[in-house]
C-alpha cells in the first residue's frame, strides 16, 4: 500500500496560483492523491489541503519546492499530527420505492443523509474520513451506484495549534520559525536518487 502525507498550504488568492501548484507537482513528478482549495479565513488567501503520495523524505521535498513558489505563503506538513480530516461525498444509488426503508436504515447507520429521492434513485450525502465514505459506498454497491462525487480531503490539526501562515511581518525570527516548520533532514529513500 502506498504511503500518503498531508500538507496544508496557504496561497495568495490570485489568478494562476492553482496552475503554478499543479505545474510544480507535474514537473517534479509528485503524485497528488487529492487537492482541495477554498478561501481561507484571512482575506486574500486560499487554503489548500494536499494529500501526496510518499513518506517523510518525499513530503519534505514537496513542501520545500512548494514554498519556493512566490505565491505560496506557508506550507505545513501535518502528517504526523493529530488531525480531523473529512471529505464529503454524494452517491447516486439506484433505489426502487420498496427498497427505500432498507437503504434508509443503512444510510442512518453511517450518519449519512438521503438528500434527494427520485422515482428510481436517491442521492446519499455522506461526510467523514475517507474510510467511512468508502465503507458506505461499498455497502451501497449492491443496490447499484449510478454516480458518485467526492470532494477530496480537508484536514485540520486538533487542539490550539493551527496551520496558518505566520503574521505578515517577516522579521528574521519569524522567517526562521517558518523555516524550522518545514523540517530538516530526509529519512529513508530519497525522492530523486537516480536508479
Amino acid at each position: 500500500m502506498s504511503e500518503y502525507s498531508t500538507i496544508v498550504a496557504h496561497v495568495e488568492d490570485r489568478p494562476g496560483v492553482l496552475a503554478r501548484v499543479a505545474s510544480l507537482f507535474r514537473r517534479r513528478g509528485f503524485n497528488i492523491e487529492s487537492l482541495t482549495v477554498g478561501k481561507a479565513d484571512e482575506p486574500g488567501l486560499s487554503r489548500m489541503t494536499i494529500v501526496v503520495e510518499g513518506g517523510a523524505a518525499n513530503v519534505q521535498q514537496v513542501a520545500r519546492q512548494l514554498f519556493k513558489l512566490i505565491d505560496v505563503v506557508s506550507v505545513v506538513d501535518i502528517s504526523d499530527q493529530p488531525v480531523i480530516d473529512r471529505e464529503m461525498s454524494l452517491i447516486k444509488v439506484s433505489c426502487q420505492p420498496a427498497q427505500l426503508v432498507e437503504v434508509g436504515e443503512l444510510v442512518k447507520a453511517f450518519r449519512a443523509d438521503i438528500v434527494d429521492v427520485g422515482p428510481q434513485s436517491i442521492i446519499v450525502q455522506v461526510l467523514g474520513d475517507g474510510a467511512k465514505v468508502e465503507a458506505l459506498e461499498g455497502m451501497l454497491r449492491p443496490y447499484g451506484v449510478l454516480e458518485m462525487v467526492r470532494t477530496g480531503r480537508v484536514a485540520m490539526v486538533r487542539g490550539q495549534r493551527t496551520s496558518k501562515p505566520p503574521p505578515v511581518s517577516v522579521d528574521a525570527q519569524e522567517a526562521e520559525a517558518a523555516r524550522a516548520q518545514l523540517g530538516r533532514r530526509p529519512e529513508g529513500a530519497l525522492p530523486f536518487a537516480s536508479d
Binding site: 495568495e12 496552475a19 517558518a178
Partner: protein, 557 residues
C-alpha cells in the same frame, strides 16, 4: 503625473539602474519602442534572434553581477526566448524578461501572435507576471527585480499586453515597498546549524569543500578561501563553481564531475566530510548518487532550502546566504592541518595529472586552451559553448577571479557562446574570449552582425574540429563508433567573417595558432579565428553516464 504604461516601464528600468536591454521589436511592443527615444540613458541592443537577447542578458548578468534584462514581442518573439530563460533558470542567473502580449480583450482568444508565455514559462522562471493594468506595472517590475536578484537568483518574466503599454496611469515614483508574504528572505543561517557544521568539520580528518556557483553569486570567494585556509580544507569546485577560488591558490584543486580531474573525483570520493557550498549535488558533478562516497558526512550550505536533502541525505544542513554562512562558520572552526590528507591528494594529482596534449604536430583542443591561457595570462573572461571545447576550457584555463568563467552548465545550451559573449562584453571593456564549438557557433552565428553593429572586441575562438565533437566521442565510446549525424558540413568561416565585416584568421598548426592568438589580441574590434583543431580528440578523464565518481576512466583502455 500621468504616464503611459510604456513610460512607466522605462521609468522603472531607469530606477533600477538598467543601462542595457537586449531586445527585438514586434507589433505589440511598438508602443514601448516608440517610447525608448525619451529614455536615451537606457541602451537598447538589437539582436538578430530573441534567443540571443536572453543569452546576452544572461552573459551580462554573470559577468557584472547585476540583473540582466531582455525584451521580446508576443508569440514567436516570446517563445524564442524560452531556451535562454531556461538556461538562466538552471544556472540561477538573475534576469528580468520583458514580453509584450496581445491586447487584453484578445487574451485567451488565440489572437494573432498570442502565446501564453506566462503559462509556457511557469516551470522555467522563478516567478512571472501578467500585468493587466498600467497602474500595476511599477509594483510588478519592482517585485520582479527583487525576486530575480535575491535568494536563489533566477529569471522572472513580466508579460504586458499591448494596450497596457498605451493606457495611462498615475506615476508617483518607483515603489519602495515590497509586499511578498510568500517570499521571506532567510539569508542568516541558524546558529545551531552552523555549530553542527563546524563540529563535523572540526572532527574531520579528510575534509573536502565542493564549491559551487553560489559562492560566486554571493560574492563570497574571500570567505571561501578564509574557511579553507583556517581548517586546511582542499577546495574542489563544480563546473559552475570554477573561478570561485583562484586557480593558483594552494588549496585549489580544480573541478569534479563527468569530465572533472581524476584526482578531484577520487578526493571527493575518499573524503570523510564533504562540505557542499553553494552547489546542488547535481548528477553531472556527483556521478551515480547511491555510490557516491557512502561513508562521507555531508555538510550542505545553500540559500535554497529545497536543494538541501534533495539528492543526498545531509548531516549538517545550513540554509542561508553562502557569505553569511561562511562568516558565521569561520570563528567556530579550529585551526587545523591535514598534511597526510593533502599529501595523499597531491600524490594522486602528480600520478594522475590532466595533461593530454597530443602530438606536437597536432593542433589539439587541450593544447589550444593552454596556449590561450598563456597568451592571455589567465586574465581573460572566457565564455564557452557546450561540448568538448567547453570541458577543455574548464580543465585547462587557470581562472583567477570570480565571474571570469561564463558557461551554460545546468541546461548545457549549445549556441550560448555567441550571444552570451555579447552580453559579457557589454559588462566589461577588456576583450572577452569566446571559445566556440563549430556546432554551437552555427546555431547563433547570426549575432555576428550584432557584434559588428557595436564593434565589440570579442575574440571568437572557433574550435573547429568539423564534428559535433562531444556527441562523436559518445558514439565512439558507447555506440561502437557508429558515427551518425555528427560530421558537420560548414561554411568557409573566413568568408563568413568577411561577409560580416569582421576580422577573420585561420590556423591549423600550433605555431600558426599562437600567432593567430597574438594577432587577434592586436585587433581593435571583433575577431573570428577559425582554429582547425584535431578532428578526433576525446575529453579525458570521463565518468561514463550513470557511473560513480570512483569509476572515473582516465583514458582509453
Amino acid at each position: 503625473m500621468k504616464l503611459t504604461g510604456a513610460q512607466i516601464l522605462l521609468e522603472c528600468l531607469r530606477a533600477e539602474g538598467v543601462e542595457t536591454v537586449f531586445g527585438y521589436p514586434g507589433g505589440v511592443v511598438l508602443p514601448l519602442y516608440d517610447t525608448f527615444v525619451q529614455y536615451p540613458d537606457i541602451r537598447h541592443v538589437l539582436v538578430r534572434h530573441e534567443q540571443a537577447a536572453a543569452h546576452a542578458a544572461d552573459g551580462y548578468a554573470r559577468v557584472s553581477g547585476r540583473t540582466g534584462v531582455c525584451l521580446a514581442t508576443s508569440g514567436p518573439g516570446a517563445t524564442n526566448l524560452v531556451t535562454g530563460i531556461c538556461t538562466a533558470y538552471m544556472d540561477s542567473v538573475p534576469m528580468v524578461v520583458l514580453t509584450g502580449n496581445v491586447a487584453r480583450d484578445l487574451l485567451g482568444r488565440d489572437g494573432f501572435q498570442e502565446a501564453d508565455i506566462t503559462g509556457i514559462t511557469l516551470p522555467i522562471t522563478k516567478h512571472n507576471y501578467l500585468v493587466m493594468r498600467a497602474s500595476e506595472i511599477a509594483q510588478a517590475v519592482k517585485e520582479a527585480f527583487h525576486i530575480a536578484s535575491t535568494g536563489r537568483k533566477g529569471p522572472v518574466l513580466v508579460d504586458i499586453p499591448k494596450d497596457v503599454f498605451i493606457e495611462t496611469a498615475e506615476w508617483d515614483g518607483y515603489p519602495e515597498q515590497i509586499h511578498l508574504r510568500g517570499y521571506p528572505l532567510v539569508t542568516r543561517p541558524a546558529q545551531d546549524d552552523v555549530e553542527r557544521a563546524a563540529e563535523l568539520i572540526n572532527a574531520a580528518e579528510k575534509p573536502v569543500i565542493l564549491a559551487g556557483q553560489g559562492v560566486i553569486l554571493s560574492g563570497a570567494s574571500a570567505e571561501l578561501c578564509a574557511v579553507a585556509e583556517k581548517a586546511d580544507i582542499p577546495v574542489i569546485t563544480t563546473l559552475l563553481g570554477i573561478s570561485s577560488i583562484p586557480d593558483a591558490h594552494p588549496l585549489s584543486y580544480g573541478f569534479l564531475g563527468m569530465h572533472g580531474h581524476y584526482y578531484c573525483n577520487m578526493t571527493a570520493d575518499a573524503a570523510d566530510v564533504v562540505v557542499g557550498i553553494g552547489m546542488r549535488f547535481d548528477d553531472r558533478a556527483m556521478g551515480r548518487f547511491k555510490d557516491f562516497n557512502p561513508g562521507a558526512k555531508i555538510v550542505h550550505i545553500d540559500i535554497d532550502p529545497a536543494e538541501i536533502g534533495k539528492n543526498f541525505e545531509t548531516h549538517a544542513p545550513v540554509q542561508g546566504d553562502v557569505g553569511e554562512a561562511l562568516r558565521a562558520l569561520l570563528p567556530l572552526l579550529e585551526p587545523a592541518e591535514h598534511p597526510e590528507w593533502r599529501a595523499w591528494i597531491d600524490d594522486l594529482k602528480a600520478e594522475h595529472p590532466t595533461d593530454y596534449f597530443g602530438e606536437e604536430s597536432e593542433l589539439t583542443g587541450t593544447w589550444l586552451v593552454r596556449a590561450l591561457a598563456e597568451e592571455t595570462g589567465g586574465e581573460a573572461t572566457i565564455v564557452t559553448g557546450v561540448g568538448q571545447h567547453q570541458m577543455w576550457a574548464a580543465q585547462y584555463y587557470p581562472f583567477q577571479r570570480a565571474r571570469q568563467w561564463i558557461t551554460s552548465g545546468g541546461l548545457g545550451t549549445m549556441g550560448y557562446e555567441v550571444p552570451a559573449a555579447i552580453g559579457a562584453q557589454f559588462a566589461q571593456s577588456d576583450p572577452v574570449w569566446s571559445i566556440c564549438g563549430d556546432g554551437g557557433f552555427q546555431m547563433t552565428l547570426q549575432e555576428l552582425q550584432t557584434v559588428k553593429d557595436h564593434n565589440l572586441p570579442i575574440r571568437y575562438a572557433l574550435f573547429n574540429n568539423g564534428f559535433l565533437g562531444m556527441v562523436r566521442q559518445w558514439q565512439e565510446l558507447f555506440y561502437s563508433d557508429n558515427l551518425h549525424s555528427v560530421d558537420l558540413g560548414q561554411p568557409d568561416f573566413l568568408k563568413l567573417a568577411d561577409a560580416y565585416g569582421i576580422a577573420g584568421l585561420r590556423a591549423a598548426t600550433r605555431q600558426d595558432a599562437r600567432d593567430a592568438i597574438r594577432a587577434a589580441q592586436a585587433v581593435d574590434g571583433p575577431v573570428l579565428i577559425d582554429f582547425r583543431t584535431a578532428k578526433v580528440e576525446n575529453v579525458w578523464p570521463m565518468v561514463p553516464a550513470g557511473a560513480a565518481l570512483s569509476e572515473t576512466i582516465e583514458e582509453p583502455a
